[in-house]
Amino acid sequence: MVELAVGDRRILARSDFPAFLDALNKLGYRVVGPTVRDGAIVYGPIDRVEDLPVGWTERQEAGKYRLERRGDEALFGYAVGPHSWKKYLFPAHERLWTASRKESRFVPAPEPADGPPLAFLGVRACELAAIALQDHVFAKAGDVAYATRRARALRIAVQCGQAGGTCFCVSTGTGPAVGPSHDLALTEILTAERHVFFVEVGSPMGARVLASVPLGPASVEDERTVEQIVARTSASMGRTMVVSGIRDLLVNHPEHPRWELAGQRCLACTNCTMACPTCFCQTTEEVPDLSGERVERWRRWDSCFNSAFSELHGTPIRKSTSSRYRQWMTHKLATWHDQFGSSGCVGCGRCITWCPVGIDITEEAAAIRASPPPQVVEERT
């Protein structure tokens, strides 16, 4: 068998997909990916092909999400659901360390990294971008647990064959074509005659996975088909957002009346921040046992929409919901540039779909752009 190299392209038949999953398992990976649960496509363990949402798709709109049957047996015929890969790399609730009291002293012990490495199956282009953004955030903080999990995780990307109703990755420049940073990238090709996956090798580890999987050659025709699939998806984005100059636009208009309007609709439920694949805010918790001899230090996803989030000396700095919405959106689209050198938004549309009142970040950004009131002019003395 010829060793595959990074950049190589092959065809994996749908009938050999079980062999692909076996290869991952044999290398010690636990495969996680999209699966249907509770009326949505979420991420969970994938033990066999049938665990994937075979033949399912979804309809997404602002505040709306409905599963629907497709007319075919596609494995990846949908966009993204309420979960993102951050639940694996940055778990919603995670023990940081434990400590036991020894006389008057205590000795903290870090949480060991355990469990098998994960293979993320079905990472969309926007999600690869989101992982890269969180990599940057957690690396800058020196977070060991994140780095450990991330270093062990395998990213099997899937290029989207269709866009969701709230997708706008074309606007944010994060999709739908998968960039070079992945271990393997799949594109599902499904016609009346043929159901195969165009596979591109993105890393030596990706090549190793494929070593024991039956593959066929990829033709120029296949490559053209893949390009057409990506072009079709690009052309069918449910949303658009003008991102040029958005950093200054939002930073310079903290008193725009639109914030107040969004605040009147927003329930401060935190859904957008939980569903967002890049939101990283967190809080810490001290959990002593009943004897008081042992404590556990935990972290938990937090949200800038919570009142306690900005609390200082018992009073929240951001009392109004509008100030919290402004904080979230300004951070995501504007001040993220100052902090991490890029936008914090990957255009996945989750915050739009999963907002119970359907607040649409693209619509809010457009409204602020359409009618910027006079800028706050700095006083000069």
């Binding site: 008057s104 990599d135 060991v144 810490t284 001290e286 000396h313 904080q327 902090q339």
Partner: protein
């Protein structure tokens, strides 16, 4: 992500220190002197930086370092009982163990102040974060021009470092004004907010570096008064305070505009936050 995380220091782990001394400053404020015990000596800190202090079974809070930067053996922290965790910290006994993570954040630019007049204005518990800067300036007193300190507190009983202030007040090379918002008949000092003492302060506005620490409104009004007097916005420094859970730029709580106060602050140029100071609920 290339490479592995093995061997990376874990920034979440506190280092146990023991409480060597506990001094009561005011009815609700204490100063703790922390020593590393058998562990390594404290990391050097810059005036204005802070530590995360942790109490077993209680939790963790950011507290500025207020000891002498030349003391390489201890961390000194002045803590006001303002919540569940700071209240527990105020009650620890000598010999108790306190976890320390730090030092974190930016500090007062005392090198930038060399050769200039220095105006230090502290409101309430704003004095402790400024104390290391003042000690450092006094250690090299000849490097600076006039040094003016204005310290305001709510009432005479809220003044911290009482004995040291008496010593500072007796120095001929330092002007230390103390004022309180309200006082009884037994108070012979000044009454009024810190800005009322500013006209008395002697400094050359164009050649002055100012360090301000206290409630945001106090810093804002003081900075405005200094600017009125001709001090450059870039020569005025303020120390910000925000909710903090991690101190490593990760929990998101301390964001103030584009800044993570834990990383880009707490000490920042007034010019950088002037507009933010006037933005509601930022």
């Amino acid at each position: 992500m290339s490479g592995s995380a093995e061997g990376m220091p874990n920034p979440w782990l506190p280092v146990p220190y023991s409480v060597q001394e506990r001094r009561s400053e005011t009815p609700d404020t204490v100063t703790l002197v922390l020593a590393p015990g058998a562990g390594p000596a404290p990391l050097r800190f810059g005036p204005g930086q802070f530590n995360m202090l942790y109490l077993f079974g209680i939790g963790e809070v950011p507290i500025s370092i207020c000891g002498d930067p030349a003391d390489s053996q201890h961390y000194v922290h002045t803590i006001r009982s303002a919540g569940r965790i700071s209240d527990a910290l105020c009650r620890v006994a000598p010999g108790a163990t306190v976890g320390v993570r730090g030092p974190y954040g930016t500090g007062w630019p005392i090198r930038e102040a060399v050769g200039h007049d220095v105006v230090i204005v502290a409101g309430g518990l704003g004095l402790p974060p400024l104390r290391p800067a003042l000690l450092e300036i006094l250690r090299h007193r000849d490097r600076y021009g006039r040094v003016e300190v204005i310290y305001g507190a709510r009432s005479p009983k809220d003044l911290v470092y009482y004995d040291q202030i008496q010593a500072w007040r007796s120095r001929p090379d330092l002007r230390f004004q103390t004022t309180v918002d309200t006082a009884g008949h037994d108070w012979h000092g000044d009454v009024g907010v810190v800005t009322t003492r500013l006209p008395d302060a002697r400094f050359e506005p164009k050649d002055t570096v100012a360090f301000l620490c206290g409630p945001e409104i106090m810093m804002k009004l003081t900075a405005q008064a200094l600017v009125q007097r001709g001090v450059d916005r870039d020569a005025i420094w303020v120390s910000l305070e925000r909710n903090m859970k991690c101190a490593i730029g990760l929990c998101g709580h301390c964001q103030f505009g584009a800044d993570f106060v834990c990383r880009n602050g707490p000490v920042v140029r007034y010019r950088a936050v002037e507009r933010a100071f006037s933005t509601r609920e930022l």
